[in-house]
Symmetry: C2
């Protein structure tokens, strides 16, 4: 099945296999799971950004009827761990988190856990725990945290969690050889994944040594690994089940309350559910890291990029989680988008007394894309070069070196994306810069390259099994995690395509670590790429057996046979055929009956960059700073499209999130580190009414390493939105905002200042 | 791993892996499953043994608050099916059962089903259904049913459900060449499997086209097949889950209320639970078939068997279920035990208006063993030959032809079993025939051969998958069904043995058709043999990969490597080694990471007969007929013993059931076909206090086709108990009982008559 093979199932807008149950409300999420005898977990959380527990007294809480267990740091071994430990990644992350600690490092940090027969009782018990804190000085901004006398979060060492450098070529030489050097600094805000479903998990440790966890997670096998490691259990004794998940976006990419719930279940002998309130989900999970990024760019007169020097400072918050990985991912990202002969990146991940940053769609990409794509516009203007041309001149092309993998880039639709996007937007058209009602019109543009899988930073691998039932239908088992992206549907499409079946013929069992081989989890835009390839191989293995057995029965050479419509036939003479159910009956009636199964394993040997080009038109009201977005064009090169409906969902959702990033979303903290807008009333996700219809352009592309030519598509379409909007706002108003979000107020103030 | 390999895990008395949860009561059976919104199903059952519904009115029942759905034959397509249809068997069974019919064929037959919010409401609603029956003449005994004018159960055809013949050699010639011909007739009773857990299932058809069934079944894949077939669903849309099962013994070897529960779930949109009461479990499931067996045996003066002619009449009850298969299994059974050069079997399965017979531990074996083993004693006495000698002379030996498979018998411990059993019982010792308190002492003996798998009557196959976790522990997936026999434990032992791990290192996921390859189910004493071989192969495939990867890393030839204690080492120099977790880390760190998995498929090409020899001592009180059993010796050739504790459990349980068969258990019906003892108060299972301690002798044996040399052990030890007891009673009293059970009253009456 090569590039020229005509696809029957893959690429079609097959409805999500869970569509009906999700639409009718019968789909089961973790929050819907109620187990007999289940207890409910609530936490006492620190009101201080930095404090030591001097005295903690749970005796009043223990006496409350219905309370079944209370845990504080005194009850728990003080083992440090990292909730983002991946079993497949090279290089360990620092372990700096305790299950429960005697020190709080941010407002919301866990102090004590109560399990009770109802949430209400647990909640009341929490209020009955008496704590005396020694409040410690706190620090919230990396630049403050880096100062010599700053309060230290973890021991006496510096607050630098990790320093990451990357260089390529000779930065000094590059800057010297440039005709012009531009310098600039940009700041991006802390905000939240704001999944519709808050974090929730259930742990059932009813039997000593066997632990079952139900969790709203993106990474069931990672949860299994971390929980087993921290609780010192063998992997086979831990089972993690992932029901439907109401959104992840990187925010469910690690272990949260699974460990404490497990310990509480062990203590009480009952299943324990830990379901976060919306407020807790905001204040005590992980956020998008705030960054300050300084750039120094050397260019030739003609706009050719000669050198890029980056200093990136990441606000990691109070614990490590995945911060160094986000920074590491950021370090090389630009080199997948632009040809830059001389490059130097110095990144600093810095502890502060805020809720930790963590995984978030784009994973460090937006925070470097926004600065550079803004600066590209500034450079173009300064050099008198067209904004499109400067990008066409410098952008990566097929065959260029992928600096992260040291292999050539095998597919790249950046140029075509730029051309088509600009054409669709009528970029060079002569629309008036001012509307009839006095608003200023502007166009903006930005491009991005995003990785498909974390290769080579980890052993990115996935396993699949295809089991052929006696009527020729399929049970497909794969470790991948559908967190709402339709990836399970895509897996069914792939198996159906290979085996000549319909999607309805395939049932998938995923999301249960006991029942499938591993998959590293739903992150890095790679489920289709990784698990899709594993499924394709598993289905191909099953198909090979089907063909082999048919060849024996029909006495036709295997290479002359094909499968379609549950039928195996001679390509030369389709009348020579046998249906799949009949074939299975013949196998059963043979002397050596067996079930046709196929296994498939795939590990990434590329990160197959996927590309996005965004063009946006904005209208700015000069009286209020209000930004309206009448048009948004998003071109995407995701290789072969597996499911057009699912792809459009990813692009539209990403753009929406990117626009929120650009315009409205930000977590605000008071001077004591307390979050000010931890509710959907106060935290402003971009409303549907303010979100433009996204005009998606699919760039024809074929990634040879992907299943049927596919690449990732889950994150990249978020990234260019920030700069595209900022560039369009500048185009409209002449005001350049370098600190996100571009709130109406901020823009109004800047316009006034100007 | 051959015969001489020293076994580390297999053969040990490893405790059942579910031991703690079963002992503490936390193990989940189907009866414990409660789903949100679940409805409860109750049935209106026929009070008549044979009747036609003239009018049925559910309107009063429908009005009862809490009633959510009522189904009668009018609501259901009148499609005939057989609940025992196996997807892997050759030759279809007659379809004669309706989901709900307008005709009742036995007392207890389903007339209408009610689903309500509670069992109480459903129960009350049942009483509000008005039915007018046309009562039809009924027939209960096969000999009556065979008479020309007898009432017909299914259409106008004869009540002969099926006639089965088997012959071998020349029966006429054999009888002619015999010195003596003996004729005799024996009758065995109808009785019940009486599992501790009654039949129960839950069907959840919440989403059109996806049906989930939780069932207390021995055969999940068969349930899936039959339900899909009858409801016209693709196999991949039906999922059958088997939680812990509280005993099967053949009684859960087919579909019961799963189909009607599914239809009710479809109608109501809610999960539906159908849990039988103890009474329903007696009156409306399946029973042990009653048989009348007539024998004609030709022998030489020296006791050599020359010919055996059998006429076997089976009381099938009202529907076919598995009756012809039970009769077919019986037809050849004797030829696996004795060398009989000339043989003829004529069997008649006959419909009557009683609850149907079905699968039951021994599957037709006891009903032919009791007659022939009784007659062997009669012949021995008549010819003046020792009872042991006549069996030693005639019994099957290794290398003899297995008449059912046409291959030689590869292992046979019958002779050794006879010798050891007799020795242990001190058979030739001079114990007084009368005790000091006047009771008569007697010794009895019987032998049996039972099949391991139904080969060649079906494609007996099983599939297994071994998945190696990142810490070297194992997730094992196999389709086999542990119904309380410890077979899951045995599967873990096999995987651990092959891979050099402990049982604790292996977790098994079984009992869910969505998550494993198929296994044909827990019947025919073959789970260890079939699934065990599949697991062994899957583990061996995983081991091969482990060895291959180690060979690369350590630069040692694969054949020089061995796995033990989670360590792979050079057999020549054990210091050259790598631990399994380290190996996996190296694979993850390689350029081509993958998870080590292995798949295994096994199909039986033998039925590897397993053998039993029982010796029993009885004491009979001549004043009351009371039989006491002071000693019971059971020798078993089950090949290599996989788990000594589990084996002893099977032998002891089988003997207990066989003694109940011999002495106490019988379903009684009044003249209208109504069961008289459908409760544990009235139905007499042999009490523990009356059950002897079983002295088990394990005959060393090695079956080359079995995993590590194992054969079946689940049924054979029931079979000889009947004749052994009857023979001992004769030895004690001189009274030969030819109609089971040998109740004290029956024996007393017979002794008085004599």
């Amino acid at each position: 099945m090569d590039k020229t093979h005509e696809l029957e199932i893959v690429g079609k807008g097959v409805p999500q296999i869970y569509g009906i149950e999700k639409a009718t409300g019968s789909a089961k999420y973790t929050v819907n799971v109620e187990l007999p005898g289940m207890l409910y977990l609530r936490f006492l959380r620190s009101p201080h950004a930095h404090a030591k527990i001097v005295r903690i007294d749970t005796s009043r809480a223990e006496k409350l009827p219905g309370v079944k267990g209370i845990l504080t740091f005194k009850d728990i071994p003080q083992v440090k761990f990292n909730p983002n430990t991946r079993f497949n990644f090279f290089g360990a992350l620092p372990n700096d988190m305790y299950i429960l600690s005697e020190k709080a490092r941010y407002v919301g940090d866990h102090i004590a856990a109560v399990a009770a027969v109802s949430e209400e009782v647990a909640e009341e018990a929490v209020t009955l725990i008496d704590v005396e804190y020694e409040v410690l000085p706190a620090v919230f901004e990396p630049e403050e945290a880096l100062k010599p006398g700053a309060p230290k979060l973890h021991g006496e060492e510096s607050n630098v969690l990790q320093q990451i450098s990357l260089s390529h070529g000779d930065i000094e030489k590059g800057l010297k050889e440039a005709d012009f050097v531009f310098e600039d600094e940009y700041k991006t805000q802390i905000f939240h994944q704001a999944t519709l479903e808050p974090h929730v998990c259930i742990a059932d440790y009813a039997l000593e040594g066997n632990l079952e966890i139900i969790s709203s997670t993106q990474v069931p096998f990672q949860v299994r690994h971390v929980v087993a490691k921290v609780l010192n259990l063998p992997i086979n004794k831990v089972r993690v089940i992932k029901p439907h998940v109401g959104g992840g976006f990187g925010g469910k990419d690690e272990v949260f309350d699974e460990i404490i719930a497990a310990l509480m279940s062990k203590k009480t002998g009952r299943p324990v559910k830990a379901e976060m309130t919306r407020e807790e989900d905001f204040i005590a999970t992980t956020t998008r890291h705030g960054f300050v990024v300084s750039l120094k760019v050397g260019v030739k007169k003609d706009g050719t990029l000669m050198a890029l020097q980056v200093k990136s400072v990441q606000n990691a918050g109070a614990y490590c989680t995945s911060s160094p990985r986000v920074l590491g991912a950021q370090s090389a990202r630009t080199l997948l988008r632009y040809r830059i002969p001389n490059y130097k990146f110095d990144g600093y991940s810095v502890y502060t007394n805020l809720v930790p940053g963590g995984g978030f769609r784009g994973y460090g990409g937006p925070q470097i894309n926004f600065p550079l794509e803004s600066l590209m516009d500034i450079i173009a203007e300064k050099l008198g070069i067209d904004r499109v041309e400067i990008r066409l001149k410098n952008c990566i092309r097929q065959g260029d070196l992928n600096i992260t993998t040291k292999n050539p880039i095998e597919s790249c639709g950046l140029r075509e994306g730029l051309e088509k996007c600009v054409e669709k937007m009528d970029w060079y058209g002569k629309k008036s810069k001012v509307t009839s009602d006095g608003r200023r019109r502007g166009l903006g543009l930005a491009i991005d390259a995003h990785i498909t899988s974390s290769f080579p930073r980890g052993a990115e691998s996935s396993e699949a099994i295809v089991i052929v039932n006696e009527d020729g239908t399929i049970n497909l088992k794969v470790g991948s995690s559908d967190i709402g992206t339709s990836s399970d549907t895509v897996m069914c499409q792939i198996a159906a395509e290979v085996l000549g079946l319909t999607v309805d013929d395939v049932s998938i069992a995923a999301g249960d670590t006991r029942n499938t081989g591993w998959d590293v989890g739903a992150y890095a835009s790679k489920t289709t790429y990784l698990a899709g390839n594993a499924v394709k191989r598993a289905a191909a293995a099953a198909k090979e057996k089907i063909i082999q057995e048919t060849a024996k029965i029909l006495a036709i050479a295997p290479e002359k046979l094909e499968c379609k419509n549950k039928n195996i036939f001679s390509k030369d003479d389709p009348a020579k055929n046998i249906t799949l159910p009949d074939l299975i009956q013949k196998i059963l009636a043979s002397g050596e009956p067996f079930q046709i199964t196929g296994t498939g394993s795939f590990s990434a040997k590329s990160n197959a960059p996927n590309y996005s080009v965004h063009c946006v038109e904005v209208l700015v009201d000069p009286e209020t700073g209000k930004i309206e977005i009448p048009r948004y064009v998003a071109a995407v090169d995701a290789g072969t499209i597996m499911n057009s409906v699912a792809l459009e969902g990813q692009v539209e959702g990403s753009v929406h999130m990117g626009l929120g990033y650009a315009l409205t979303e930000e977590l605000l903290f008071d001077k004591s580190g307390k979050m000010l807008n931890s509710s959907f009333v106060d935290y402003k996700i971009l409303p549907a009414a303010e979100t433009p219809r996204v005009e998606t352009i699919i760039i024809p592309s074929y990634e040879p390493t992907g299943p049927f030519g596919a690449k990732g598509a889950g994150e990249g379409s978020l990234v260019p939105a920030l700069a595209a909007v900022a560039n369009a706002v500048y185009d409209a108003t002449g005001v350049r905002i370098k600190e996100l979000p571009i709130t109406f107020e901020k823009l109004y103030t800047a316009m006034r200042k100007k």
